[in-house]
Symmetry: C2
Subunit: 338 residues, 2 copies
DNA sequence: CTGTTAGCGCATTCAG
DNA sequence: CTGAATGCGCTAACAG
């Protein structure tokens, strides 16, 4: 910077003013300085700036190492939105979302001086850490966590999505609809379970016990092995597409046709969903929107720290994508068809 | 830090020594300082440290927004390995790997003062930028790029993997093996194409023209629509699992059985591969290993800048995973079966 | 083994 | 509209 000042024949701080786009500058001076900057290929030192301004212009994102479609998509969109908003974004992927691992990630990020943190794919333990952190003073926005367990939250309306899926099945005439849930320590899994129950309840139907998987195709396959024997079940709503995929395979192996014998609905709309056998009906989530809102909220939290925004803003509405894995049940048992 | 010094009754400097784990300290003093640090909840300011040491302890990772399995898995493993190595890791996902976008990402990272960059999933344009960057002084390790186009490179031996896949098909007795390649602007796609050609050539077989997809299931499905008419083709080697998945669907729709009528091999071993219909034979890549080596190499590049390591170290060997999508051709046309 | 003295590169007072 | 001083929090020399 001293070099630039010398070359432009001005002082230190005039250069600083140019860089920070201050207004009180004679255009000629500014031009001269800009010229010198370009000529010398000068780049401001962000460490020095951070030291004096006490602003690192950096935010942290905590994700999980596991690489499920939803969380990792959100990680990407949050990253992109953060950068667009002018931040450097520093990521850390924890092996699992245990209290210790998340706390560790938070520490790492704090040491770097991040101004705020976005925590993705939160389960209960992770939420505890988030709450503690907020108390300590560094804003944490939780994505896809429960709205009631953290102050700053953004996410898709999971329950609404699950209701959409279930209602679709209901509308087709199904009454025996089983839910293959995700791990219930995850708030997302619980919200989807809840949505399914709500819809079943609203339709006046008996709510069969749900199954619980771990988001993987393997678990869907394994649980599908059990479901296959229950011939009363005409439809399954899986809490994500991976498990639905495993289910499809189990059904296929058992010689039960989809959607002839049983309809299957997933959740997420992974890019492959439309190319499964058969193409999967599922619930699409607008991850890009989630990413943007997360950053928006984080900025607000950093600037303000005050009361959070309106609840409606935190929820992104999902959308049902109907494909070929769902149809009316073969023999329509009429019963609770209102 | 001044507070800590005061509380411990020592100087500035001694505190600094404790933090940096220097050896010349009386244990008693160290203990006293550590006590004070804990009591005050003191955390070193990394900006100040970066300013004086000229080391940010930060590295950058450039990935692509698209979210394909391979690149995003590597992104995660690189992130993890970087953190284990004591770095802060800052990510940026570019919309596409064009020259402009990558150059932009590099600039962003440089502004942050990263000590080095890992560039993931490189195509030709991105490689240009990487080379330019190396010349300018900031080390760039390219993952999955061509070994000949950049100095610091780590990756899976794509060609070897493709040969593995092709040889498997060959060993089963197939002679008409078509390759559905990835976008050939990607070095990975070219290497896999090359491996297939090598194996075909070595077997003394005619090399049919390849098809070119874009990594997506959709493209596999589309290209599969064409392949379906070519009844002479008994086996297809797809350059990734997504395209193989689309292919499976196209084949299924056309009523051609897999592996009865045609065998299919993929590449990547995505977690769902074992649960497709039928379970997919594919080539597995050890992404964690790639991530570790990338960081290892980046450290070397940062420290040294000198000659690169031995070529063997840059290549991770892939592994064939045989599942149910491959079998001997129905009518064995003997011809080049050695 | 420990304290003292400088200065990293910048933004922020305050004067001109 | 611009320049001169001051200090952010820390580490790197030196002294002692």
């Amino acid at each position: 910077m001293a070099d630039v000042a010398r070359l432009a024949g001005v002082s230190h701080q005039t250069v600083s003013r140019v860089i920070n786009g201050q207004s009180n500058l004679r255009p000629a001076t500014r031009l001269r300085v800009e010229e010198a900057i370009k000529q010398l290929g000068y780049r401001p030192n962000s460490a020095a700036r951070a030291l004096v301004t006490r602003r690192s212009a950096t935010i942290g994102v905590i994700g999980s190492k596991s690489g499920f479609w939803g969380p990792s998509s959100i990680h990407r969109t949050v990253q992109a939105a953060g950068r667009e908003a002018g931040y450097f974004v520093s990521s850390v992927n924890v092996p699992d979302l245990t209290r210790a691992a998340v706390a560790d990630a938070v520490d790492h990020l704090r040491d770097q001086g991040v101004e705020g943190i976005v925590l993705i794919a939160a389960n209960d333990e992770a939420l505890d850490v988030a709450r503690a952190q907020e108390a300590v003073g560094i804003p944490v926005v939780v994505v896809e966590g429960s709205l009631y367990q953290a102050r700053w939250t953004v996410g898709v309306d999971q329950a609404a999505g699950a209701e959409l899926a279930t209602q679709h099945l209901l509308g087709l005439g199904h009454t025996e609809i089983v839910h293959v849930a995700g791990p219930l320590a995850w708030t997302e899994a619980r919200a989807r379970l809840q949505g399914w129950q709500n819809a079943m309840h609203a339709a006046g139907l008996r709510i069969a016990p749900h199954l619980e998987g771990d988001w993987t195709a393997e678990s869907g396959y394994r649980l599908g092995g059990d479901l296959v024997r229950r011939t009363d079940v005409t439809a399954v709503f899986a809490a994500n597409d991976q498990m639905a995929l495993g289910l499809l395979r189990a059904l296929w192996e058992a010689g039960r046709s989809v959607p002839g014998d049983v309809s299957v609905v997933g959740f997420d709309d992974i890019p492959e969903a439309g190319f499964l056998i058969p193409p999967l009906t599922t619930v699409r989530q607008d991850f890009a929107e989630v990413g943007h809102r997360a950053i928006e909220m984080l900025r607000a939290a950093i600037a303000d720290g005050g009361p959070d925004g309106d609840v409606p803003d935190r929820l992104v509405q999902p959308e049902l994508v109907v494909r070929a894995s769902t149809a009316a049940p073969r023999r329509s048992k009429r019963k609770a068809k209102a």
